[in-house]
């Protein structure tokens, strides 16, 4: 009897092979933008009339859907379909979409919504539908003051983006940059802040002092930047919400690019002491300065890894400017860039997997990324002059600035912000009122 058991097992083993399910491995797909229909958000007549008075917009539902549509388009991952092709009215679609109509125009996902004005508040509902599966994927409602309508559009986009791509969005964010005006030799530079899509621009300084390298605190809406006061470099902290500004300290010689640590409690920067430029940190609570590198070469542009354990920076200790990584206490320094040309402005991705950099090779400037061990270098974009990449909070997009050639008198010069995603294909000009440089991307506002 005992042996029969074994024989049976062996028999079953053989049988299982005979009746095995046929398996097909699908290891490739397309990376084309996902066709998505963004229906106008419906709004009742009474609400619309009230909101028209307040916001001076004909149809705020349509405006919010435009914000969402534009965000999705600029991400490069979605293809918002032309509204003229829509067969179903927004209000009915929001109640129950006729999926056949939407799949007819090749939509794979559908966004519908509704705007209500009640108790002096704007209430926006939206639903995300899977057209092919014929089911609702997500439904949310937001209530806010009417003037916040653009932010509602950004938050909706973040939710949709996260639901459909699996990663956090980056739309409800802001960008701080240096606004530039005037001839090249006599530029007026102001700190400016705007939404990531270029709207709601505000100027934070008057322009009577030179401002450089503003950087967001990754944990809140605080900014650190460098400004020259009576020809002395000063590092400032600026609270964007309150407008309160404070001096972190005066630093001797050349000072560069202050940047926050991931927990926002320290700033890291490089400055020259006794003619030698090294990397230092400053504790923002007790203002204690700590020297991190001590090398006769020029060490600049430090940037923390998201876990705060490592720092990347550039140094010419090998004879040429290259990127190095070290522990946050300054030990175990390791060179990671070995390609031809000069490497600078390394910035660690918020995802922790990549380091973005600027590269100068044969007179051309490149923005690229490499893994944190220096492998897998990819150059995303090439131009006459471009630098200072800054990551979107989800680590998918880089914003940087690009300058054009000018003659000896500075004619033809311009500086503009550009963004590019990690594929290298989705490069876009970020609209600003004036010339712009040194952008820095905030974390998500709605976190």
């Amino acid at each position: 009897m005992r042996y029969l058991k074994y024989i049976l097992i062996i028999f079953l083993l053989n049988q299982s092979n005979v009746n095995a399910l046929i398996e097909v491995d699908i290891t490739r797909g397309n990376l084309n933008p996902l066709p998505i229909a963004v229906s106008s958000l419906s709004i009742e007549k009474a609400s619309n009339e009230e909101l028209q008075k307040i916001l001076k917009k004909k149809n705020i539902g349509a405006e919010i859907s435009k914000v969402v549509e534009n965000n999705l388009l600029t991400s490069g991952l979605f293809n918002p379909l032309n509204k003229d092709a829509f067969l179903q009215k927004p209000d009915i679609a929001h109640l129950k979409p006729r999926f056949e109509d939407w799949s007819l125009i090749k939509a794979q996902a559908l966004i519908t919504g509704k705007v209500i004005y009640e108790n002096e508040k704007l209430r926006v509902e939206f639903r995300l539908w899977d057209v092919l599966a014929g089911k609702e994927m997500m439904a949310l409602a937001f209530t806010t003051v009417p003037t916040n309508w653009r932010r509602v559009g950004h938050i909706i986009t973040d939710k949709v983006y996260e639901r459909l791509t699996g990663e956090k969005g980056y739309f409800d964010t802001r960008i701080i940059y240096v606004s530039e005006k005037g001839p090249k030799t006599k530029r007026i530079k102001k700190l400016a802040i705007m939404d990531q899509d270029g709207f709601n621009i505000k100027y934070l300084t008057l322009g009577n002092e030179l401002v450089l390298t503003p950087r967001f605190n990754p944990t809140n809406q605080m900014v650190t930047y460098l400004s020259y006061f009576r020809n002395l470099p000063r590092v400032y902290l600026l609270d964007i919400e309150t407008g309160i500004q404070e001096v972190v300290g005066d630093f001797p010689g050349m000072t560069f690019a202050p940047r926050f640590s991931p927990n926002g409690k320290k700033i890291i920067m490089s400055f020259a002491m006794d003619g030698n430029s090294d990397i230092y940190t400053m504790d923002l609570e007790n203002r204690v300065v700590e020297r991190i590198t001590n090398h006769p070469s020029i060490d600049t542009s430090p940037s923390y890894s998201p876990d705060g354990k490592y720092i990347c920076f550039n140094s010419d200790r090998s004879g040429y400017q290259q990127i190095y990584v070290m522990k946050s206490d300054g030990t175990k320094v390791k060179r990671i860039s070995f390609g031809k040309g000069l490497y600078g402005t390394p910035v660690w991705s918020p995802r922790g997997d990549l380091i973005a950099f600027t590269k100068l090779h044969k007179g051309k400037f490149y923005i690229g990324v490499m893994r944190t061990d220096g492998s897998g270098e990819r150059l995303l974009t090439e131009n006459f002059y471009q630098e200072a990449p800054s990551w979107s909070p989800n680590g998918r997009v880089l914003i940087f600035y690009r300058e054009t050639k000018s003659d000896s008198e500075g004619k033809g010069f311009s500086a503009k912000l550009w963004s590019i995603d990690l594929t290298g294909y989705n490069e876009r000009l970020v609209d600003t009122e004036t010339d712009a440089s040194d952008p820095s991307w905030s974390s998500l506002l709605s976190n």
């Binding site: 062996i10 097909v24 491995d25 699908i26 397309n30 990376l31 084309n32 998918r396």
Partner: protein, 270 residues
């Protein structure tokens, strides 16, 4: 005591014996290689031999007239036989395929060996039927070639032969190519994680999907696996978009249930 040991050893020997003759890897051994090689050849001939079809027809006519010895000499070596099995994928012109096969045999007479000739002796009759050439070439599949006469499709016989093996490479390629085009891979997935979604399908004969089942469904609700839901949904969308799936025209029993393993890792790692 001694008797028990003898009985025990006897039973163990029986078990070992049964194991040796029934384990899948042992029984499968001779079938293993051929299908893989064959697909490639057929694909090549599909493209390259079509212009020469008239010439090939003449060759078929000649073959029909040839003596038995000659027929045996035209049998392809075993490997080639298996290569032709994947023909079962529906192709635009079956006649052309058949012609190609014969032509190929004739073009490579130097590859024939004694063993092949001997084995092929019993297949002479079928060789005269142009619809059964593929089966005839397969010296070990005489029985199947008999059944093919009824269906008038060369490749089907081989499909039946492969009913326990899986789809032929041509069939698999056709299905893969279709789904590749439909699957929009979500780009925000953590490519260091397990990005495999296994979906079991129940299909109708025309390739429309009756039922889909995500095999690792439990993963959707696990903490830190939120991306899995996104990935699974994208795979389901791909299946729905692709309907009806490009399935073989025959052998429904073989593929009425399929498992698709969607793995985005390769694409996302770049």
């Amino acid at each position: 005591m001694g008797r028990n040991i003898i009985i025990s050893s006897g039973f163990h020997l029986v078990v070992i014996f049964i194991t040796a003759f029934s384990l899948p890897f042992l029984t499968k051994k001779p079938i293993d290689l051929p299908p893989i090689v064959s697909v490639e050849l057929i694909q090549i001939t599909d493209k390259t031999n079509i212009p020469f079809a008239p010439k090939a027809k003449k060759i078929i006519d000649k073959i029909k007239k040839k003596e038995e010895e000659k027929l045996t000499s035209e049998q392809a070596p075993p490997k080639k036989v298996k290569k032709e099995k994947p023909d079962s994928v529906p192709l635009p012109d079956e006649n052309i395929e058949k012609v190609k096969k014969i032509e190929e045999k004739k073009q490579n007479p130097e590859k024939l060996d004694e063993e092949v000739k001997q084995v092929s002796e019993f297949e002479k009759k079928e060789l005269f039927d142009p619809n059964n050439i593929a089966a005839l070439i397969d010296k070990s599949k005489e029985e199947f070639s008999e059944t093919d006469k009824k269906t008038d499709k060369i490749t089907q016989s081989q499909n039946k032969d492969l009913s326990n093996v899986g789809l032929t490479l041509n069939e698999e390629d056709a299905l893969k190519a279709q789904i590749f085009g439909c699957w929009s891979i979500p780009l925000g997935l953590p490519y260091n994680d397990n990005l495999l979604v296994r979906i079991k399908l129940q299909l109708k004969q025309d390739g429309t999907v009756v039922k889909t089942e995500i095999l690792d469904h439990a993963r959707m609700n696990k903490p830190g696996q939120g991306f899995y839901k996104v990935l699974a949904e994208s795979a389901l969308r791909a299946i729905k978009m692709c309907q009806p799936l490009r399935v073989p025209t025959e052998g429904y029993e073989r593929w009425k249930e399929l498992q698709l393993n969607f793995d985005a890792k390769e694409m996302l790692e770049g």
